[in-house]
Symmetry: C2
Subunit: 459 residues, 2 copies
């Protein structure tokens, strides 16, 4: 199968690329209502390509927001079913002036496609369509496939949850397959085996009922900014850099010795890392490596803070209020709601005299981990080894993709995150790009996952 | 003298008030260049009234900003000279919609004048002009007088320092007299015997060279907001509420037992105070009363803080920068420059790994204290006792009037702060007002200070 797929790709490579470039020309920016027509057009484009590739029961399913494109190929009730997830919407492209070429006029330069969405996620999603086409044309599809391509990933996938809850029967499958993450390098393939969850809260501190003159009242009346600083400060132990919220670590599962070893094998140069960020030192939980700190351990970061006088120069105000946005990244088996509640209880308990505290919750997301010993992971690892000639490294991402946890929760299946992009692809930034090598290697690797997965499930 | 002054005021009270109201109609807002013509007109108005009252050598002295009105009456080289300081500029009046009557259309209601500047400082300054007129008309001026009325007090008196340094000979005097503070109550006269100094700094923390995704980097890279919170927090001991900067208290003079006793006699109801601010508790340095905390003890307040995402909702950014404006109120004998330097040294020393710190200095001001046993204070106390029938309480103000320290430093004389306004006069706020009782009582009391001061100096 491997050689035939490779040959088919070689014969059709220009068409594959042209089709992707046509899709990249449609500015499907989900964050801006001005592009809603383009978003709709992109959904139609995806549906048409799925149909051409051989999918049945194509439907552009309306939601309260942007439509979800569905398509499937059911070949037998006795083989497993792969549910492919992807998204056809893209991040806004501004600031336009920082792009070397217009974001919606894709160009090939240095063996890369430059365009908004080239990697995230049109390019990576389209690998799956073309892999499916290849298997169909070569009559080698080993299992059932369902496609669910949404148009709101970049704005929080708000309508995807209700959709999958409503269509659990239709979406019944054995594994979810998606390519919306990255790998370490073109000669260091990796599979994302973990995502951190997220608990995001906003805190507001109220002191006196009005802004006061800091001369007249300073020293006697609690200052909400000072109080906020003190309270934030006491959330992290300055020595161990552990989060001090009681119960915060109760459900945390330490990574296995095997995974710790795998992480230690990830190529990582601390000097390159520090130089890239222009910092003289990293700072994280004592006893963990930088990669472990940024992917396998929970964190607490203040994402925004404000209070008092924000203008130029000096104003001697003792403000009435101060507020902060605080997010915690979570790891298995922490639960975002429980953590948000633990945070709120503790934060309120440490308010100094004279300060009232409000805590509100923003969205949460659950952490995800894919065990390396499950057939899903092993099939993916075998597919990478087939095409890259080496075992992929398991890697946890520090970020959160809340829908992945949702798939497991609602559909009861694991997700395999086969990212073929690179961290240097500038997703969400000007000059987003996606290597041609990566695009074609993805199309080549995906069918091998289908093959190995179907075989492993049979055993 | 007392009865004659009283009679003269009674005979001229309507004219006095009308003259003040005419001045209040000119919107001399120094902060807004749109009012510069009005500022100039007000200076001219003050100069004319001084001339009518009997002052010589009137001059509207240009500065790099708004002019300073000068006038004098020299009656003999053998009597002391009082330098009257005041200001004819006012705070901006916005928000206009919160005023019950237009800020520059003075009205009398419940025996109070409502208008921007009615108390601060046109009303209080004009008491001195009318007290001078009264003494002149009654031929009872006992000493020399010099008037120096500026137009930039509400914007930091930036041109007053250079002016007094340039005109030390012309401004040569034995005491500075000003009414730009308040007293405790109409039946509890008080004299301001102390002002806190000010050291105002701005700090900026820089972590990574760009805003980062908190998922990808959170946990491994120092977050400038977390760091800023931690650093601010460690500036105050949470138990004693003392400032932890090494050397900060080295030059602080503890108040005398006598002053402590006088402060304890100031009528103060903690429940009224808390209810007014809607706080359930005060918070200040352990071992000191609220009044002591807010006037005789140094403080550290964050006046503004910002960093990261400020908009609605949630954004998972690990920001590159965070900053804060921090002011310290100082007490005798702390020096603002020394304290600012101690702050900067300490603050830089407590930065966590991976964080760079910049500290910049805004304006400073020196603390002031008027000893109760000096003739200047005693003359003022006698004047209040004459008109109020009771000894005034010595009181320190928590705020700063940097120019008062400057008078002492450059001219080598003490300042007597005879404030007749009340804390309820809403200076700097909508519906600023000044009691008619206070206006006339000021005009009545000031000449008695001249009398007692001249007599005490003769002894």
């Amino acid at each position: 199968m491997k050689e035939q797929i490779k040959e088919y790709i070689e014969q059709n490579k220009d068409r594959f690329l042209n089709e992707l470039m046509d899709m990249l020309r449609i500015p499907s920016v989900s964050a801006d209502p001005a592009f809603s027509g383009d978003v709709q057009r992109t959904a139609e484009y995806v549906a048409e390509r799925l149909k051409e590739a051989g999918a049945d029961n194509i439907e552009i399913c309306p939601t309260d927001g942007n439509p979800i494109v569905y398509g499937e190929k059911i070949i037998s009730p006795f083989v497993p079913t792969v549910l492919v997830y992807g998204h056809y919407d893209v991040q806004p492209a501004d600031p336009y002036e920082l792009w070397d070429s217009p974001p919606f006029e894709p160009v090939i330069k240095d063996e890369k496609i430059y365009a908004r969405g080239s990697c995230d996620d049109k390019g990576q999603m389209y690998m799956h369509v073309k892999a499916f086409e290849s298997m169909m044309k070569l009559d080698s599809l080993p299992c059932n496939v369902k496609f669910m391509i949404e148009g709101e990933e970049e704005v929080g996938s708000v309508n995807l949850g209700p959709f999958i809850k409503k269509h659990t029967e239709r979406l019944k499958s054995d594994v979810v397959l998606l390519s919306d993450t990255s790998m370490i390098g073109n000669d260091t393939p990796s599979i994302t085996v973990g995502l951190r969850g997220l608990a995001y809260v906003e805190v507001e501190l109220i002191g006196p009922n009005r802004d006061l003159h800091s001369g007249t009242y300073g020293g006697a009346v609690a200052n909400p900014i000072n109080a906020l600083s003190q309270m934030i400060s006491s959330l992290i132990d300055p020595k161990t850099r552990k989060i001090t919220i009681p119960g915060f670590y109760d459900d945390v599962i330490e990574i296995s010795a095997e995974e710790k070893k795998a992480i230690s094998e990830i190529p990582f140069d601390i000097n390159v890392y520090k130089k890239d960020l222009n910092i003289d030192s990293t700072l994280g939980e004592v006893g963990y490596s930088v990669i472990e700190q940024a992917s396998t351990r929970p964190t607490l970061d203040v994402n925004g803070i404000k209070g008092g006088y924000q203008g130029e120069g000096a104003k001697t105000v003792l403000p009435s209020k101060a507020s902060a946005k605080i997010s915690m990244r979570l790891v298995p088996n922490q639960k975002s709601e429980k953590i948000a509640n633990l945070f709120a209880d503790y934060f309120k308990s440490i308010a100094p005299a004279g300060i009232k505290v409000n805590v509100t919750f923003h969205h949460g997301g659950e952490p995800v981990v894919v065990p390396m010993d499950c057939v899903e992971y092993q099939a993916a690892a075998m597919a990478y080894e087939d095409t890259f000639g080496k075992k992929p490294l398991p890697m946890r991402a520090g970020g959160s993709i809340p829908i992945v946890a949702l798939f497991e929760e609602v559909l009861g299946v694991k997700s395999i995150m086969m990212g073929f992009g690179l961290d240097t692809d500038a997703i969400h930034s000007p000059n987003e790009n996606f290597g041609l090598f990566n695009f074609y290697r993805g199309i080549e690797t995906i069918p091998l996952f289908y093959k190995h997965y179907t075989e492993l499930k049979k055993i």
